[in-house]
């Protein structure tokens, strides 16, 4: 990407461990890859790491290289016979996580810079599990089955669906076996926000990623005939060359169709002779297409105000405006006999509000396991410029092609955290998946959710901070047996668990009585009953990965009116890898239904800050 890694803090000059980095294999389960993209050039690369057990089976005319070391494709319907990316999505995500530097990357002149991944020296293995029809569960499991056996170090899955029980969800099943082999799976939280309980990425052994804005905001200004500016949002590489055009409202120039439709400029409901050579103001996004088909020179579209500054690629002069600005333009039209406007070419400006959670990013609480906070972490997922498949259409409507594209989604956020996991792994190759996940979560930058007020249920532990994640001080570790105990506590039978793990695991009585909230997770969450006093206890154990001789003191932050007590308040370590346990008790006299109580526990030795968020939601 040309901007987001700088915004995250992973600058080009950041310290690296290149020899270890070249041994890291990033597995990507997606829509395939465009192997000829300059982001995947292998100039200067040595042979594939010795641990690599995979193959290059990308189909006809598909060649791997020393950067892109593996490719496989799957197709339930046997329609796809290549790992080549015809969609663009897989090329975008793979290059975001692990692409090499691609100079002068831009999208029709916009977002110009060097597009780069987090770990340019790492290797990529691609598993094409998605086609134009979506990503079938059969193929996703096949991708996991191969990727784990091939020897990837981590897996990035920018795909998902509705929340589903772990035993019936291919992503939960595949990522469980990956975790058991020391492979951390990164998964997009989903794009079904901002309603609560929408994230489908729910398993505690994977890391789910929410999407945020970056400080680069794409704006597309409109200059009215009275020379007043209106701020619009779209990714529009077209210029009207300083010329203003007559402005008309779509519902004032209906075509041969029902009046109610013409209000929204939908379908063919525009009078071609009345809009030709003019800029049309429309209430629905379809208006962009309707106005273009009717012969207009441009369009201005009303955009939902809660959606925030997400811009979409448009294939002609078109901008989107908020409701307030839409009505400003209507007022201007009503105030003059000859309303005119010019739509300028998109420019980028600094967004000092960033990072803000994207409106579309799926939210918690976790509907399958409410005692585990999801999503886990936030990363850039709005207007990300990265490599694209040159044969893919830019959007469903825009049939142009480009080597780079600017797109948005939790799909774009997921490979950012995959890149950070790979980066941390280059410095700590022996750390467990849970240790790396904990390092990233406890060092994340705190965020605010001013748009939807869903706090941690929107952004998880906060905004990813790769350089901080290298030195977390303490980590919350969780291993297969801990997840087994947790599954016992939610009713999985001993027989089922024996099958799942292949071990003689039985559910001890103690495990059956335990609560899943006591899984040693780096965040803490629970549902509480609304309107009644409550006391919630969380038990946690931390492992010292900082300084051998260190003393950590606890600090509690809360603006929720709850009382939080931690026992003990000091943790003293004498050696590395030493473990210490503590309990956190949250008490309250009761809160109204649907209230979100947000707090955090921070352990600090003066050098490290180990932050765990606490998020409670009051239910009827």
């Amino acid at each position: 990407t040309t901007n987001s890694w700088d915004f995250i803090g992973l600058k080009e000059s950041v310290k690296r461990n290149p020899s270890v980095e070249s041994d890291v294999i990033v597995g990507v389960l997606d829509s395939g890859i465009w192997p000829e993209s300059e982001s995947f050039s292998d100039e200067g690369f040595g042979p594939a790491p010795k641990k690599w057990k995979g193959v290059c089976k990308g189909g006809r005319n598909f060649t791997c290289n020393k950067k892109l070391i593996g490719a496989r494709f799957y197709s339930l319907n046997e329609l796809e016979e290549t790992a080549r990316d015809t969609n663009g999505h897989g090329t975008h995500t793979a290059s975001t996580a692990a692409g090499i530097d691609a100079k002068d990357a831009n999208f029709f002149g916009l977002g110009k810079g060097t597009a780069r991944g987090a770990v340019p020296s790492s290797r990529i293995a691609v598993y094409k599990v998605c086609s134009e029809f979506g990503c079938s569960g059969v193929d996703i499991l096949a991708g996991f089955d191969d990727a784990i056996a091939d020897g990837v170090d981590l897996l990035s899955l920018s795909l998902g669906g509705d929340p589903t029980d772990f035993s019936q969800d291919p992503v939960s099943i595949g990522s469980f076996h990956a975790m058991a082999k020391g492979i951390l799976t990164l998964n997009a939280a989903g794009n079904s926000g901002p309603d609560p309980g929408t994230t489908g990425s729910v398993a505690p052994w994977l890391m789910s990623v929410a999407a945020t804005t970056t400080d680069r905001l794409f704006v597309d200004r409109i200059v009215l005939g009275n020379e007043k500016d209106v701020m619009g949002f779209s990714i529009n590489g077209f210029s009207l060359n300083g010329e203003k055009f007559p402005l008309v409202v779509g519902n004032d120039v209906p075509g041969d169709c029902a009046q109610s439709d013409s209000l929204k400029c939908s379908g063919s409901c525009l009078n071609s002779s009345a809009v030709e050579g003019k800029i049309v103001l429309c209430e629905l996004s379809e208006g962009t297409i309707a106005a273009r088909q009717a012969g207009a020179v441009g369009s201005i579209i009303l955009k939902d105000t809660v959606s925030g500054p997400v811009s979409f690629v448009v294939s002609w002069p078109s901008s989107s405006v908020t409701s307030k600005d839409y009505h400003r333009i209507i007022s201007y039209i009503n105030s003059t006999k000859n309303p005119q406007a010019e739509i300028l070419k998109t420019e980028s400006i600094k967004d000092s509000d960033a990072p803000v959670v994207a409106f579309f990013s799926s939210r918690g609480p976790n509907t399958i396991l409410p005692e585990i906070l999801k999503p886990d972490i936030s990363a850039p997922g709005v207007n990300i410029l990265a490599a694209y498949s040159p044969i893919a259409s830019l959007t469903r409507e825009d049939k142009r092609h480009a080597k780079f594209n600017i797109i948005s989604g939790t799909s774009m956020a997921c490979p950012h955290v995959a890149g950070v996991v790979a980066y941390v792994k280059t410095f700590h190759p022996t750390w467990s998946p849970s240790a790396i996940k904990s390092a990233i979560m406890t060092t994340a930058r705190p965020m605010n959710d001013s748009i939807t007020s869903q706090a941690e249920f929107a952004y998880g532990s906060g905004f990813v901070d790769p350089t901080n994640a290298l030195n977390p001080g303490l980590v919350y570790e969780t291993f297969e047996e801990d997840y087994i105990r947790m599954l016992c506590s939610i009713g999985y039978s001993s027989e089922k668990l024996r099958r799942l793990t292949g071990n003689n695991n039985t559910c001890l009585e103690a495990s059956k009585k335990a609560s899943p909230k006591d899984l040693n997770y780096p965040s803490m969450t629970s549902e509480v009953s609304a309107g009644t006093p409550f006391t919630i206890n969380f038990h946690r154990t931390v492992t010292n990965v900082g300084l051998p001789n260190s003393t950590y003191e606890v600090h509690v932050f809360s603006n929720s009116g709850v009382r939080i007590n931690t026992v003990p308040k000091v943790l003293s370590f004498k050696s590395l890898n030493e473990k210490k346990s503590f309990d956190v008790t949250v008490t309250s006299n009761g809160v109204a239904a649907n209230t979100i109580l947000s707090a955090s526990v921070v352990w600090s030795d003066g050098k490290h800050r180990v932050r765990s968020p606490i998020a409670l939601i009051a239910k009827e």
């Binding site: 979506g134 079938s136 989903g190 089922k496 099958r499 292949g502």
Partner: protein
């Protein structure tokens, strides 16, 4: 009396790989054969998972799916959902 149209793709999840030497493809074929009334199951088998975990995907009727779900070696049987790029 189920027709080909009644068959849907289900994933039969069997958990972790068994210890020792096994031909998992044969094991999966046999399990499928046990629930399908007569005929070859070759065309019904969609995929075997045998490198990192144990399971298979097959075209099953509702009745065959129910029979498989009651087998003690089965962790879960569920329809293959289609997920979306995000």
């Amino acid at each position: 009396g189920a027709t080909e149209e009644d068959r849907k793709v289900y994933i039969v999840y069997l958990g972790s790989l068994p210890q020792g030497e096994y031909s998992l493809s044969s094991l999966h074929q046999n399990m499928l054969q046990e629930v399908v009334d007569g005929g070859s199951v070759e065309n019904l088998m969609v995929r075997s998972y045998k490198r990192s975990f144990n399971g298979f995907a097959a075209k099953l009727t509702e009745n065959e799916m129910q029979k498989l779900a009651t087998k003690k070696e089965v962790v879960s049987v569920f329809p293959s959902r289609t997920l979306q790029l995000q």
